[in-house]
Symmetry: C2
Subunit: 345 residues, 2 copies
């Protein structure tokens, strides 16, 4: 066969000219494969949390109806791209065929991998839905999917349960970026430090700032603060509401002799915390927004409005080596692994 587009546009059926993610229909006929495609025998769909709860409501919480809705979406669109929420999720499966153009990859037929690009752009064909696991947003299926040449993935580690690995891979971009931007001696503030991505970032931040640095974590609930403490990391834990920008400013000022943070990581799951993140950071410092609730304009105009010369980064879900960096954290920190097993897996 021929080479397809590395981004998979060769499988877009409509509207023509767009990428697989915004496309309404994509081709999920896998009887002929392109030379730069990888065919996966799918085992589990890990539906995005927003999408799963929408489907669950529409199905009146009936697993049979949930299965029906998913089947219909995939028949109509050629991918599990929730038409209401617009989101997807990820999948786990075994490699069935590796296209001739990708033979140099460190992959073998039979390897179990997680596809880290969204289901909302992944060609999928379902033969049978085996089981719906409502408490973890997962669906066991028999079926096949395509990974495009540009698609990112991770081999599943042998030394941890699949569910644990999935929980880490879901937020892998954040700790990997943290590892890359934190410098020794830095003062780092992690807003949402008690959460799934926040805890991993606290670990990386502590490791990178070293003994001359300082790491402060902010969480909203007592449980979140307890998780930060239980991690055993040398973090200064704060409990409070990051929507209250003045409170955050005063706390961080107090803890840094008025110098503020070199780097603030925003890992919350709620809107309107842009200004707190900006104010916690010193001039010429960096604010890293990983939260999907971030508003571009609130950040841009917020910094201008208070005259803050900070560099503001949009959290890219991908950075080289992100899966390995994130998975390594649970090996390095057994206490964090315990929290993760209890809370997210």
């Amino acid at each position: 066969m021929a080479l397809g587009c590395p981004y998979g546009t060769h499988r877009v059926l409509g509207p023509l000219g767009v990428f697989p993610q915004p496309a309404k229909f994509i081709n999920n006929d896998f009887s002929t494969l392109y030379d730069n495609e990888i065919l996966i025998e799918v085992e589990v769909l890990n539906i995005d949390s927003a999408s799963f709860s929408q489907i669950n409501t529409q199905a009146e919480e009936d697993p049979a109806k949930i299965a029906q809705i998913i089947l219909e979406t995939v028949i109509q669109r050629g991918k599990q791209h929730n038409p209401v929420t617009g989101s997807g999720g990820m999948l786990i499966g075994k490699i069935k065929t590796i296209g001739s153009a990708l033979q140099s990859r460190p992959l073998n037929v039979g390897d179990r991998i997680a596809i880290l690009v969204s289901l909302s752009l992944t060609p999928l064909h379902i033969t049978e839905i085996i089981a719906v696991h409502k408490h973890v947003d997962q669906v066991e299926i028999r079926g096949e999917a395509i990974l495009f040449e540009s698609g990112i993935y991770a081999k599943l580690p042998e030394d941890m349960p699949q569910k644990l690995a999935l929980a880490v891979l879901d937020v892998a971009g954040a700790p990997a970026q943290t590892a890359k931007i934190v410098k020794p001696g830095d003062t780092v503030v992690v807003i949402g430090g008690g959460g799934k991505s926040g805890l991993l970032c606290l670990h990386e931040a502590c490791k990178r700032v070293g003994v001359t640095g300082k790491v402060i974590g902010i969480s909203h609930s007592e449980a979140g603060v307890a998780r930060m403490k239980e991690s055993g990391l040398p973090v200064i834990p704060l409990q409070g509401d990051a929507c209250d920008a003045l409170w955050v400013l005063h706390q961080i000022k107090g803890l840094t002799d008025g110098k503020l943070a070199d780097l603030t990581l925003n890992m919350v799951n709620i809107p309107q915390t842009e200004l707190a993140s900006i104010l916690a950071t010193k001039d010429k410092g960096i604010v890293y927004f990983f939260s999907m609730a971030t508003s571009f304009t609130a950040a841009a105009l917020g910094a201008e409005g208070v005259g803050k010369d900070v560099t503001m980064l949009i959290g890219n879900g991908y950075t080289e080596g992100h899966a390995e960096i994130a998975l390594a954290i649970l090996r390095e920190n057994p206490r964090l692994r315990k929290i993760y097993e209890r809370t997210y897996a």
Copy 2:
């Protein structure tokens, strides 16, 4: 008097605890001033374009009604914060009083300055509306305003007309950031290069990449491409639609031997150009989003979906020295000044 909050929260009347920008009501009684406030005798309000066109429509294009609507907003809110669009604009005026805590600033009573923070957070009191200049979104008034300690401003230059300086100051953040991130030898793509901010960025990019670099500008219209050519800058001009990510990718690939850009600057005024910006950029490169039409999630998920390890920056309207850097461009490049005078001033 006492010191106020550097960010002006001492003038917020409601809701309490928020910053002046999101506030509904702020105190515009200037009979007592705080020691870290600067009182301005206002001459001209430069209403934000989105706000002005909303007011114009509501006023059925009648200047008297436009004046009435502005007066009412300022009486109700204590600031020209358009309740429909949420936006403000900027103002020009002469310094009347400098608070005792700010005496060390390089400013004198009588200096004419432009306030570069939004009118949507600036305490304003209007005594009289003198004239409404509809074609330039400006309103001449008699009145006073407060600049907070953290508020940014620029002295108006002596060597250019006020309207020309205002046009440049409106987008000053973009060329100043460009100057700071471009390195010699870089390949730079400016999407929206024929626009108001794009042209200034093209100038800075050409200056910084030097003879070993390459600068490519993309504009949608023939007029935009003509402006890029007329600038006399060594730019490779492209005409096309940046919503077509594949077209952009192919063009930039072709012009860079497949290597793509080290830095892509997004300066458009329309949505859905995130993916084109990401695809035009090489791995480990930088994408700088200045456009307010940027969607945070489209950028974050877009980069992940195509597996691109790029650093994505949110365009901060402010960076140190931004006004001087931007104004200097028109002095350095007389052709650009001519285009600016004809097109934007």
